[in-house]
């Protein structure tokens, strides 16, 4: 029985090594998209999204992708860290990391681990310490929550900023395009004696 469990756990650990944790996924990303995306790096065995129960609603999605070999997982991670990889939308890149056991939802027990619990009485000297710890933990949790919120806000800001830049650029392009299209540019060029053509060389003035 014990060895069975050990094996199970060993297999699980191995799986962890082969799995990539993907972050910053758009909500539109589905399993098939992830699969095809990472197929270029190796065989994808399974894709599992991590459900978000407790974090703010706007958190980007995350997923655990199990690759066939640990090496493939490593390749994925390194490539995605170096070059921005886009999935279902630009320009926010997808982030990849090595997966950790705690990320898995249905992990097996670690064999040989004994948990001991006990109730503490109010009179117990440790009670004080423990309650302080509890408060600390709660505080940490709120700190984390605040951080997260903060981060989300920053992300939105950046996105908005980029959006605006993009729009502005696009407008410029459009304008140029339209000018070229409707001949206004040519007319103006003739007027100023500039040559306007695709392979424009140095302008001649005369």
């Amino acid at each position: 029985m014990e060895s069975g469990k050990q094996n199970e756990y060993a297999a699980f650990e191995e799986k962890v090594r082969r799995t990539v944790y993907l972050d910053n996924l758009s909500p539109n990303v589905t399993e098939s998209i992830v699969r095809t995306a990472l197929d270029q790096y190796g065989t994808v065995k399974s894709v599992e999204f991590i459900p978000n129960y407790l974090e703010p609603r706007n958190m980007p999605q995350c997923a655990l992708v199990e690759m066939e070999k640990g090496k493939q997982a490593k390749v994925v991670i390194s490539t995605l860290s170096e070059f921005p990889f886009m999935m279902s939308g630009m320009p926010r890149p997808v982030r990849a990391r090595a997966a950790v056991a705690e990320m898995f939802g249905d992990r097996p027990r670690k064999p040989g681990r004994q948990i001991r619990i006990c109730w503490l009485d109010t009179a117990d000297p440790d009670f004080e310490v423990a309650s302080k710890l509890k408060q600390l933990v709660k505080r940490h949790a709120t700190e984390t929550a605040v951080m997260l919120k903060h981060q989300l806000e920053k992300e939105e800001k950046l996105a908005k900023q980029q959006g605006e830049t993009l729009k502005a650029n696009y407008k410029k392009y459009e304008m140029i395009d339209s000018l070229m299209a409707d001949g206004a540019a040519r007319r103006l060029a003739r007027c100023y004696n500039l040559r306007v053509s695709d392979d424009s060389g140095p302008s001649t003035f005369h």
């Binding site: 609603r57 921005p84 990889f85 705690e102 027990r109 681990r113 001991r116 619990i117 503490l120």
Partner: protein
């Protein structure tokens, strides 16, 4: 003590005949019979022992016959325990001993069983306000083992309040109280003087669902009440009691052989209820210790085997121990000694009263669980009457596997999402924080089981990039049913608390109590982390519409039409605008990574500082 040899040879006698089978005239139907000293009539409510199951089921005999090959069969219409349907529905009980009659069509309505599976009679009173139902008096209800007024439709899987004309083909008049039956049976005249005497006998077959006998102080009330109630069941128990006292006087024998015969005279002397006096006297004399357990080793003259010790007494002192007696040799009959409360019935394993000396060597596999359980409750020395409820202090309990049996598996378990939502609606969701992140969900379930004796479904919230490495979070749903709430509370809280807790509290407040309780008494989990509990507000998955970072150029979108609107996954090239933007994102994530790292480092330091102050480990 008379010893009966080997397998059951319980006396049996057919009673009144009814008719023969239509197709096969060799089949003879009966209206009554006597088995093992008890008279059974058609439409009686009985306990049935299912092979392999530790606890008997409750059913109504709706057909009794003998086949051509001389096999005796009964058709039984089932009663459901609330726990069996709680997996599927939220059940609000009108009465702590409420059960549900099966109705409708489908699996689980009725079954044919060998007659030998009958383990005793049960007093179930129908409290339906229907006109056709002879109304029971308050006393009847008090003395009943169970009550019912609603049915559970096995086909539609819902609870019905109204009872139709026929259930499982039998007329409802047989479902309702029979006019003659609303009075305590003779067997039950029971008077026990000592309230403190642990219930023992009387409660033997009787499943007191309302509370866990955890504290002694509570027991007496309980007992007293119980004493006046008819003892349903296996009259054998009565005798058991008697004998027990004698036996106990001698020291316990260590060998639990399979044949445990703890119960001495399971013989047919009906109507004799043991005077618990002796027993009690005995009991108190005997060192609580579950040496009583050794009782299991007592020889049972009737050949009944009791798998687990019949611990009558110590029960009460023990925490949440459910004694069930298991028959090995006699697979069909099981004497159930159940003094303690039937705790949230998911825990259907036989548990021996915790026994520090662990002498019982009950070979069934269930024993292993028992042993472990024993160990875990070991430190709670039962002989500490003043401390009802949990033993606090330095003994750390080992967290053992939660007994796995879940009888109510008929309908399968709902997928996690759904049950999470349900639980949240009903306020049964508890969030535990500050668990070691390495724990698995199953371990958390065990922790909850050990600490609170409640079952739950737990799920460790998966860590994401932003989760703190210092603690893990877990959501667990308690399948608390109303009736068990009282038990849980009493179990968990100190004397003064909750004694008056109304037993019909809604699940939500229980959970709240539980959280408050944790504020009072901390549960420490290994690695010295006090467990923090709260009621969470989970957000359920819902497609988010906005996602920061994906930009769409509207013009383009409309030009290309939706099918091309989604860009394919690719790595962008350095010469594009998107590359630049992507770089900006990279930069941002790097920055935030730095923040998180710093934050967690600092938190870790703070935690460590405090933890150093822990005196004991």
């Amino acid at each position: 003590m008379v010893e009966v040899d080997g397998i059951e040879n319980l006396e049996f006698k057919w009673g009144k005949k009814r008719g023969t089978g239509g197709t096969n005239t060799k089949v003879q139907f009966y209206e009554s019979f006597t088995y093992d000293g008890l008279d059974y009539t058609l439409y009686d409510n009985v306990y049935l022992h299912k092979e392999g199951e530790p606890l008997p089921y409750l059913g109504k005999l709706i057909k009794i016959w003998e086949t051509a090959s001389r096999l005796k069969k009964v058709k039984v219409l089932w009663f459901f325990q609330p726990s069996e349907i709680s997996n599927y529905l939220f059940v609000e009980l009108a009465h702590p001993n409420e059960v549900f009659l099966a109705s409708g069509e489908g699996v689980g309505l009725a079954n044919i069983n060998p007659l030998e599976a009958i383990a005793g009679k049960c007093n179930v009173v129908c409290i339906s306000k229907d006109d056709r139902n002879p109304q029971p008096s308050d006393e009847d209800i008090q003395m009943a083992d169970y009550v019912f007024y609603r049915t559970f439709d096995v086909g539609q899987r819902i609870i019905l309040d109204k009872i139709d004309g026929k259930i499982a083909g039998i007329d409802v008049k047989f479902i309702f109280n029979q006019s003659g039956s609303l009075k305590p049976c003779s067997i039950h005249n029971f008077s026990v003087d000592e309230p403190a005497s642990e219930n023992a006998i009387e409660t033997n077959g009787r499943v007191v669902m309302s509370k866990l006998n955890s504290s002694e102080n509570q027991i007496p009330e309980d007992d007293r009440q119980v004493e006046q109630k008819p003892v349903v069941a296996e009259n054998g128990f009565n005798h058991k009691a008697e004998e027990n006292s004698d036996v106990k006087a001698s020291s316990v024998k260590p060998n639990l052989s399979l044949q445990q015969e703890v119960v001495p005279g399971v013989v047919s002397e009906s109507g004799e209820l043991a005077k618990t006096n002796d027993r009690s006297g005995d009991r108190t004399g005997l060192s609580l210790k579950i040496k009583a357990n050794a009782d299991s080793k007592l020889k049972n003259p009737s050949g009944e085997e009791i798998g687990c010790v019949n611990q009558v007494k110590s029960e009460e002192k023990l925490k949440s121990v459910k004694d069930t007696v298991e028959l090995d040799e006699r697979p069909h009959k099981k004497a159930k000694l159940d003094n303690s409360v039937k705790v949230y019935s998911d825990k259907e394993t036989t548990k021996c009263a915790t026994e520090p000396c662990g002498t019982a060597k009950i070979p069934s596999k269930k024993l292993k669980i028992d042993d472990k359980f024993k160990k875990s409750t070991n430190c709670k020395s039962p002989a500490v009457p003043s401390n009802d409820g949990i033993k606090t202090g330095d003994k750390a309990m080992e967290v053992t596997r939660r007994p796995d049996s879940d009888r109510s598996k008929w309908f399968g378990e709902l997928p996690w999402e759904e049950s999470l939502q349900d639980a949240h609606e009903f306020g049964k969701l508890v969030l535990f924080q500050n668990l070691d992140p390495a724990y698995s969900s199953a371990e958390v379930e065990d922790i909850v089981w050990n600490a609170f004796s409640e079952t739950c479904r737990a799920k460790m919230v998966q860590q994401t990039a932003y989760s703190s490495p210092h603690f893990g979070i877990n959501l667990s749903q308690d399948k608390l049913l109303l009736y068990s709430s009282q038990g849980k509370l009493q179990r968990m809280l100190l004397k003064n608390w909750m004694r008056d807790a109304c037993c019909y509290q809604i699940g939500a407040s229980i959970v709240k109590l539980c959280c408050d309780l944790l504020e009072l008494m901390l549960v420490r989990v290994c690695c010295i982390k006090p467990l923090v509990a709260s009621i969470p507000n989970p957000c359920f998955s819902r497609k988010q519409s906005m996602f920061a970072g994906h930009l769409i150029v509207d013009k383009l979108k409309s030009q290309r039409e939706m099918k091309e609107a989604v860009s394919t996954s690719h790595s962008s090239q350095p010469n594009t605008v998107e590359y630049d933007m992507a770089m900006e994102w990279f930069l941002m994530t790097e920055r935030s990574n730095q923040f998180w790292k710093k934050l967690y480092e600092q938190q870790g330091k703070e935690l460590k500082k405090l933890r150093v102050n822990f005196k004991s480990k």
